[in-house]
C-alpha cells in the first residue's frame, strides 16, 4: 500500500496561507491530479491551483463525478484519489462516492470547503455539517479550525486513507482558515499513536493455516479486493500460492484480475451471479482459504447453508471482518501481501505438495464446469448482451485495457464474460452498487493512464445518472469509450420484478430514451449505434480507433436475464442455471422468506 509520500523533503517551517498549504500538502503527498468543482468556500484554494502547474485539476460537471473519477484513479493506480469540492451542496454531492469508497475500501481524500469558522452553526449560505454528514461514510474525517494544524491534518488524512484497510477521508476547511497565515510542516513520518494497523500476520496462525491446507482434499481459495488493495506483490504471491498448492481459485467481483482468468486453476467469479463450478466448490469444499474478502451477502447466499462442511481460513487486515458473518477456524489478521509472503515461505518449507490427492476434487470440478453455466442462446438477429461483451473482450484483450462498469445486469455480464489477467484493470462499484459509477470512474482511469484503452461497460439506465461527465471527458481529452448495453430497461430491476413480483414491470422501462448517438455528438464526442450481431465487430473496431470520447449504443435483446443466479435466500448448491430457467422456474425461484431480502 503506497501512501503516496514519495518525496519526504525536509522543509523548514515555512509561513504561508492555508490555501497555499493545501496545494503544498498535495504536492508533498505525491498528488498529480485532483478532481473537483469550484465554489464560494474553496475559491482561495482554486486561486492557488491556478498559480501553479504541478498539480493538475480535472474539472467535472457534478461532485459525484469527481468522487467516482477519483475512485477510478485510485483503483487503477493504487494511489489515493483526491477530490476537491465546495461547502454545502458540494459536500453533500460527495456523499455517494464517499460511501462507495468506504464499502469497496478505496483510498479517497476529499477536501471540502466550509463557511468561515465565525459563521459555522449559523445556517449560513451553502453551510452544512460536513463532518457530521460524512462521519458514517468515511474512515475518518476532520474539521480544521486552526491554520497551524492544516498541513499535519492533510498529511494524516493521506496516511489514514492509504494504510490499513484503505478508505475515504474528508478534510473540511473553513474559508477563513484558507486565508489565514500559519506555519506549514512537511509530512510527518510518525503516525498518531491510536492509528497503527497491524500488517504482519501472527506466524502461529499462518503455520496452522498451512497445516490445514496441506491436509485438505477439497480445498478452495476465495480471494477478494483486499489482494488488489495490498498491491501488485500480493497478486504475484497469490499466483505463486496457487501454483504451489494446485488449489482451485475463485474470486469476488472486487478481486477479479488478482489471479489471471487464463490461469488453469481459475474457476470464475463466485456468488449470486458466479459460475456453477465456483459456487458448488465453495459449498462442497473441506478447507476454504478466504484472502482479502469479507463474506458479503452476495457471496454467501443463505448463511445457514454456506459451505457447511469446511474449515475456514480468513486473511484480512480488518479484525472486524473476522467472524462477522461466517465463523472462521483460523483467522489471520494482517496485510494480505505480508501474510501471503509468510504463507508461501512456510508452504515451501514444510508442506509436502502431493497434488495427486486433489485429483478427485479436480475431477468433480470438471464435471461442474462441464455444466457450462455461462452459456446463453445465440441469436443471429438480435445482439445478445453476453455476446456483445464476448466480442468486446476478444477485440480488446491484447491491448492495454481498463474496464469500468455501472451497476446492474451489464456489470454481471461484464464480470462473467470479460476476462482479466492483471489486477487494477477492473473498476466497479461492488459494495454500494452505485449506478452512475462507471462513466466518471473511466474518466479518472483515463487521466491516470492517458494512452490506455479505457472502456466503461454501461447500461442504458445507469449511464444516464452521470452522463454529464461526457462533457468533462471532452474537455480533458480523455477518449473514454462508453459501451452501453442498451436494452431499454433497468435490466436488473426488471429481472427481479420477474423473479419476485409476478413480472409486473413497475417503472423499470425507460420510455423516453435519448438518442445516444446524437447525445455523444452534442457533447463533442463520437456516437456509434449497432443493432445487428454481424455488424458488431466493425462497430467495436471503430470505437477503439476513434480518439475521442465515444458513446456506443449497443442495442441488445431487451428481456435477457442474467444467469446463473443464486436466488435470494438460497444456498450455493441451489443455483438457477440458464438452461433450467423457464418462466415458471423464474417466477417460483424465490420463496416468501427470500422475498424480504435484497
Amino acid at each position: 500500500m503506497s501512501n503516496g509520500q514519495s518525496e519526504r523533503r525536509e522543509m523548514p517551517r515555512t509561513e504561508m496561507t492555508g490555501a497555499e498549504m493545501v496545494v503544498q500538502a498535495l504536492k508533498d503527498n505525491g498528488v498529480k491530479h485532483v478532481f473537483g468543482y469550484p465554489g464560494g468556500a474553496v475559491l482561495p484554494i482554486y486561486d492557488e491551483i491556478f498559480q501553479q502547474d504541478e498539480v493538475e485539476h480535472i474539472l467535472v460537471r457534478h461532485e459525484q463525478g469527481a468522487g467516482h473519477a477519483a475512485e477510478g484513479y485510485a483503483r487503477s493506480t493504487g494511489k489515493a484519489g483526491v477530490m476537491l469540492v465546495t461547502s454545502g451542496p458540494g459536500a453533500t454531492n460527495a456523499v455517494t462516492p464517499l460511501q462507495d469508497a468506504l464499502m469497496d475500501s478505496i483510498p479517497l481524500v476529499c477536501l471540502t470547503g466550509q463557511v468561515p469558522t465565525s459563521l459555522i452553526g449559523s445556517d449560513a449560505f451553502q453551510e452544512c455539517d460536513t463532518v457530521g454528514i460524512t462521519r458514517p461514510c468515511t474512515k475518518h474525517n476532520w474539521l480544521v479550525k486552526d491554520v497551524n494544524e492544516l498541513a499535519a491534518t492533510i498529511h494524516e488524512a493521506f496516511h489514514v486513507a492509504t494504510t490499513g484497510r484503505p478508505g475515504p477521508v474528508v478534510v473540511d476547511i473553513p474559508k477563513d482558515v484558507q486565508f489565514a497565515r500559519g506555519f506549514y510542516v512537511s509530512p510527518q513520518i510518525a503516525p498518531r499513536t491510536s492509528y497503527q494497523p497491524k500488517v504482519q500476520g501472527d506466524l502461529d496462525k499462518i503455520k496452522a493455516a498451512v497445516e490445514l491446507m496441506a491436509s485438505a482434499k477439497k480445498p478452495i481459495i476465495y480471494s477478494g479486493g483486499g489482494v488488489i488493495n495490498s498491491g501488485a506483490e500480493a497478486s504475484h504471491l497469490l499466483r505463486e500460492l496457487v501454483d504451489l498448492t494446485g488449489f482451485p481459485i475463485t474470486s469476488t467481483l472486487m478481486g477479479l484480475g488478482a489471479y489471471p482468468a487464463s490461469g488453469k486453476n481459475w474457476m470464475g467469479m463466485l456468488g449470486m451471479h458466479g459460475t456453477y463450478e465456483a459456487n458448488m466448490a465453495m459449498h462442497d469444499c473441506d478447507v476454504m482459504i478466504c484472502i482479502g474478502a469479507r463474506f458479503d451477502d452476495r457471496i454467501t447466499g443463505r448463511l445457514t447453508a454456506f459451505s457447511p462442511n469446511s474449515k475456514k481460513i480468513h486473511i484480512d487486515i480488518d479484525p472486524s471482518s473476522i467472524n462477522k458473518n461466517v465463523h472462521t477456524e483460523v483467522p489471520i489478521i494482517g496485510d494480505v501481501g505480508r501474510v501471503l509472503e509468510d504463507m508461501v515461505r512456510l508452504w515451501r518449507a514444510t508442506a509436502k505438495a502431493d497434488k495427486k490427492v486433489l485429483y478427485p476434487w479436480w475431477e468433480q470440478i470438471a464435471k461442474w464446469r462441464a455444466r457450462d453455466s455461462l452459456a446463453y442462446k445465440m441469436n443471429n438477429d438480435v445482439i445478445m448482451p453476453q455476446y456483445a461483451i464476448q466480442r468486446l473482450y476478444e477485440l480488446t484483450k491484447g491491448m492495454d485495457t481498463y474496464i469500468t462498469t455501472e451497476v446492474g445486469q451489464h456489470q454481471m455480464w461484464a464480470a462473467q464474460h470479460y476476462h482479466f489477467e492483471k489486477p487494477n484493470r477492473w473498476m466497479t462499484s461492488g459494495g454500494l452498487g452505485t449506478m452512475g459509477y462507471g462513466l466518471p470512474a473511466a474518466l479518472g482511469v483515463q487521466i491516470a493512464h492517458p494512452d490506455a484503452l479505457v472502456i466503461d461497460i454501461a447500461g442504458d439506465a445507469s449511464v444516464q445518472m452521470t452522463m454529464q461527465e461526457m462533457s468533462a471527458a471532452v474537455q480533458h481529452d480523455a477518449p473514454i469509450k462508453i459501451f452501453i448495453l442498451n436494452n431499454q430497461y433497468m435490466g436488473m430491476v426488471r429481472q427481479w420484478q420477474q423473479l419476485l413480483h409476478g413480472n409486473r414491470l413497475s417503472h423499470s422501462y425507460t420510455e423516453a430514451m435519448p438518442d445516444f448517438v446524437k447525445l455523444a455528438e452534442a457533447y463533442g464526442g463520437h456516437g456509434i449505434r449497432c443493432e445487428k450481431p454481424d455488424e458488431l465487430d466493425d462497430a467495436i473496431k471503430e470505437m477503439i480507433a476513434v480518439k475521442k470520447p465515444v458513446l456506443f449504443d449497443c442495442r441488445v435483446a431487451t428481456l435477457a436475464n442474467c444467469f446463473p443466479m443464486i436466488p435470494s435466500g438460497k444456498a450455493h448448491n441451489e443455483m438457477l442455471l440458464p438452461d433450467e430457467a423457464t418462466d415458471e422456474a423464474v417466477a417460483n425461484a424465490i420463496d416468501a422468506k427470500g422475498r424480504e431480502l435484497v
Binding site: 457530521g132 462521519r135 474512515k139 475518518h140 491510536s194 479484525p319 422468506k593 431480502l597
Partner: protein, 191 residues
C-alpha cells in the same frame, strides 16, 4: 437511545435465529479527546443496531488528551465481539477492553461498577424524618436541604440506586439525576 432490534450485522441474510443468549457487558474505551469522538462512538452503535444501556464519558488523562468512555451494552457473545472490533476501527480509539470478559478471566463475576445519583425529596413531618433515616441506612449523604426538602447524593451499584429511588417515591420524590456506570476491574493491573 437504544436500538430495539438485535440484528447481528446489517446483512439481510441473517434469517437464522440467534441461538446465543444476549448478555450485558461493560466496555471501557480509551479515546483521543477530540471534537466528535463521542459522536463517532454513538453513531457506530445506532448505525449498526447495537444497544447502549449506559454511557459515561470523561477526560481521564488531561496531558495526553485521553478520555475514557464506559459503555454498558447488551448483545450475544458474537455481537459483543463485533462491537469491540468495530470500536477498534475508529481512528481516535486507542483501546477497547471488555471489562466483563476481563473480570471472568480473573475469576470474578463482574467488574467494579458504580453509579452516582442526586435525589431530591420534598416533604414535611413523618415522611421527611423517614426519608432522612432511610438515606442514612443507604449511606446517602445530604448535600442540600431546607425545611421542606433534601437533596441526597448516593453512589453504588445500579441496583442499590434503583432500590433507594423506589423507596423515596412515596416519601416525596421530586426529581432524580443519575450518571451512567463508571467501571474498572479489580486487582493491580490497568486496562
Amino acid at each position: 437511545m437504544n436500538a430495539q432490534h438485535l440484528q447481528p450485522t446489517g446483512s439481510a441474510y441473517f434469517i437464522a435465529k440467534e441461538t446465543e443468549r444476549p448478555e450485558n457487558h461493560t466496555l471501557s474505551v480509551l479515546v483521543d479527546n477530540e471534537p466528535g469522538v463521542l459522536a463517532r462512538v454513538i453513531g457506530l452503535f445506532s448505525g449498526r443496531g447495537y444497544n447502549i444501556e449506559s454511557l459515561t464519558v470523561s477526560e481521564t488523562e488531561h496531558e495526553k488528551h485521553l478520555s475514557r468512555i464506559t459503555i454498558v451494552t447488551r448483545g450475544t457473545p458474537h455481537v459483543l465481539e463485533q462491537i469491540k472490533h468495530q470500536l477498534e476501527r475508529i481512528v481516535p480509539v486507542h483501546r477497547v477492553v471488555d471489562l466483563t470478559v476481563r473480570s471472568h478471566e480473573f475469576g470474578q463475576e463482574r467488574p467494579l461498577e458504580r453509579e452516582l445519583a442526586l435525589v431530591k425529596v420534598a416533604g414535611t413531618g413523618e415522611a421527611r424524618v423517614e426519608a432522612l433515616r432511610l438515606a442514612d441506612a443507604f449511606r446517602a449523604s445530604v448535600i442540600d436541604a431546607n425545611t421542606e426538602h433534601f437533596i441526597f447524593e448516593i453512589t453504588g451499584k445500579g441496583s442499590k440506586l434503583d432500590q433507594f429511588i423506589a423507596i423515596m417515591k412515596p416519601l416525596g420524590l421530586v426529581e432524580i439525576c443519575r450518571t451512567g456506570v463508571a467501571a474498572m476491574n479489580r486487582g493491580p493491573q490497568g486496562m
